[in-house]
Subunit: 448 residues, 2 copies
């Protein structure tokens, strides 16, 4: 193992940012590089058509400020949960190969130091590589900037077996789901893992670089089990973000929890002290549970289905996202409305009816999924593509499991989807400062 990142220097990072003004909920601040923002003025009315070169320059300057955008790494919660969803994802699940708990803890410390540096756009180590050493940093993100990179780490149920003395520290919320409708075809090689890392940023090479270097730093301690690249954002989590479309061509996430809805975050996303009462599981206070599902879409079948049936399945108008009962995308759904035939306008098994909080005791999730493609499925010749669903929640047993049990049984969409992989992980709270590490409170009895 050659990547030994240093802890970051205590002074200000090499990028200055407008942290205060742009601070968002929960201590996660998003900043724009001042240097990058310079070069074009604000408030002027419109571009002159003759100034193409100047437009190009301004676009380049803005691209730079987007490249330089930094999401604070340290805080009460991990970033990458309520952070406005970035454009790209790489997700990795790892299996721990060592049985030495100290080695595992060292890895989690290395990851913390590396993540702090990379999310500032810095290489994984501040030390220059000597010619006779392998480079500390693999280098492909060297010129790219952080692009709002967030790194979110989680612990799977399997980590709490008898290898590391954690068996009595697994929260009830982290129990394996057992049989949930729709999960029967999940493939072991695309599912679970002792550890997970969600890397999100507005540039795919930045997320690839982050996962590659973290996996590299795990050498001898943990190995990559499976990974997934998400090419397009499939949910809006920021109040100002427009709702993106999934690969069925429908807007996805219209009713998602937004990052500025603090009451909903407290109620449905963050684990509080009461949830995790007791010395054994209080390490999760301020954390959140991540559920992932690799949902393969039967693209070719869907594309032969008629528009009216597609809209019946979702319960929404494809072009606008409005419910079939009228209005615009954000109009409340009228589940009671009936058509001239006396039948419900929103089918009894329509996706929005089954998933709607009104019909599930108010249960909600913070979704943060991405569209994916793996190219052509060699077995079938079809396009292997779909939704890499990610949801954060306070109690997956009472949230995802309840919703999926209902959807998996009856959702009209089930004809066109299959859950082929995924898992459940406990993402501990945020790291407080340099020297803190992932799961410090989880392991503290073992190290004290």
């Amino acid at each position: 193992m050659n990547a030994h990142p240093d802890t970051p220097p205590p002074g200000p990072s090499r990028r200055r940012f407008l942290g205060g003004a742009a601070a968002t909920v929960a201590g996660v601040g998003v900043g724009l590089g001042v240097g990058g923002a310079a070069g074009f003025g604000l408030g002027t009315a419109r571009a002159d058509a003759a100034t193409t070169a100047a437009v190009d320059q301004a676009v380049a300057a803005t691209a730079t400020s987007r490249a330089d955008a930094v999401v604070d790494f340290y805080g009460g919660h991990q970033a990458g949960v309520t952070t406005a969803a970035q454009e790209r994802l790489m997700f990795a699940a790892l299996d721990v190969t060592t049985t030495d708990v100290t080695e595992l803890q060292r890895l989690l410390g290395r990851w913390a130091a590396m993540a702090a540096r990379m999310t500032r756009g810095e290489p994984v180590s501040s030390s220059p590589t000597k010619p006779e050493q392998p480079p500390f940093d693999t280098g492909e993100a060297m010129d790219l900037g952080p692009h709002s990179l967030t790194i979110t780490v989680g612990f799977g149920p399997s980590l709490f077996d008898d290898r590391f003395g954690l068996a009595d520290r697994r929260p009830a919320a982290l129990a394996p789901f057992g049989t949930v409708p729709g999960d029967a075809v999940m493939r072991p090689e695309l599912s679970d893992g002792d550890l997970c890392i969600q890397a999100c940023a507005d540039d795919p090479q930045v997320v690839f670089h982050a996962i590659r270097n973290l996996v590299r730093a795990a050498r001898g301690t943990a190995t990559l089990r499976w990974s997934q690249l998400g090419f397009g954002r499939a949910s809006a989590t920021g109040a100002g973000q427009s709702t993106p479309r999934n690969l069925f061509g429908f807007k996805d996430g219209t009713r998602n929890i937004h990052a500025d809805d603090q009451a909903a975050l407290d109620r449905w996303v963050w684990v509080d002290a009461q949830d995790s009462a007791g010395p054994a599981t209080d390490w999760m206070t301020g954390g959140s549970y991540l559920v992932a599902r690799k949902i393969r879409m039967e693209i070719e079948s869907w594309d032969t289905d008629e528009l009216s049936d597609q809209e019946k399945i979702f319960g929404r108008v494809k072009a606008t996202g409005a419910p079939l009962t009228g209005g615009d995308e954000f109009t409340a759904v009228d589940y009671e409305a009936t058509g001239s035939d006396g039948q419900p306008v929103i089918d009894v098994a329509a996706h929005i009816r089954l998933a709607g909080p009104e019909n599930n005791g108010g249960v909600r999730l913070l979704r943060r999924g991405y569209n994916y493609t793996d190219g052509q499925d060699p077995a079938t010749g079809k396009l292997a593509a779909g939704l890499f669903f990610i949801a954060f929640q306070r109690d997956p047993q009472a949230q995802f499991k309840v919703l999926q049990t209902r959807l998996g049984k009856s959702d009209l969409l089930n004809e066109y989807i299959a859950h082929i992989g995924g898992g459940l992980w406990a993402c501990p709270p945020g790291l407080s400062a340099v020297g803190d590490w992932y799961g410090k409170a989880l392991f503290s009895p073992a190290t004290s």
Copy 2:
């Protein structure tokens, strides 16, 4: 087959653009939507740190103008060759399943009409879908804008067998390469194909949508053979573009042909009337040959190699891209320089020495590759990632084949790479106007 796109309307498209001012070489103009550029002024000195919200707005406005950027579809050459390399790629190879030449021609006509519309950011058909029809357009790019989408179509050597009466119309340049060093491990399921489509844009969902809809329109006539998503640009082709890095962490494409070097384009990229003399092969005048190679990188091995060896292999300094003989990235390489040990500073088998035009009779390529990852290789547990190499050229027999024969034999890099897929395709010239279609001149004897 349900997607029957109309030919585009003859009037101006719904997007206006600054085509004249931004026109680039070879009739391919890039425009920025005026509407998108409005909302921030030009020439003002710097942003006030207190106006974070306004900065956000300006960034959003610029993101819109980038989303609205259109590359002209019609012209003397196909777009996507000298077009400044966009950020994302999806590449598809198809096999023709019909033996009816008229069906094949109809497909190439559908593709032309659909490509013209999609590159303007329009859905594949101007007709609204009736509720009882499957949607003409799959919809996932509905709100995204064209993002400089280009679609480039090519014909593989296999199309010129006895199925379609084209056997005597295959240019000598399109002969299969036979055995080239390094190609021995190319997998049939990742190689070749009667047709290819290169879709490039600054948004991955836009390129996915383009390939998906073109493959859908081929139903009953051709099927997807293999495809590849490129997540990060690996070459600069525009004079103003900075040189990106490959997954070895090195700058790639420092000496690439740039789109403003008309003499080099004429000499090395575009097929001219003399090359394609004779009625049988003059259909390629104004076209270019596309060579693709899926080059798997041995990431894990590379990452254990020491910095000095990595730099010896490339012949360049990793951080700066400068040759080991000094200067900056663009300084000429001194192949004669020797070190204090009397040995050449640039190793006799260094990548830049073997690939350098000075050492290959001046031969050059226009490279337009992308980095890729397919996640974890289930067979080895390693990260399946590398370079999806694409090069355009006037005569692949005298260019790619010559260079690869040399590199495949001796390149120090060969210890860390493997060519696992790819192919050769003839990309015909550009389409002149509405009603023109891919390969019209190729098929004209059969249809006249």
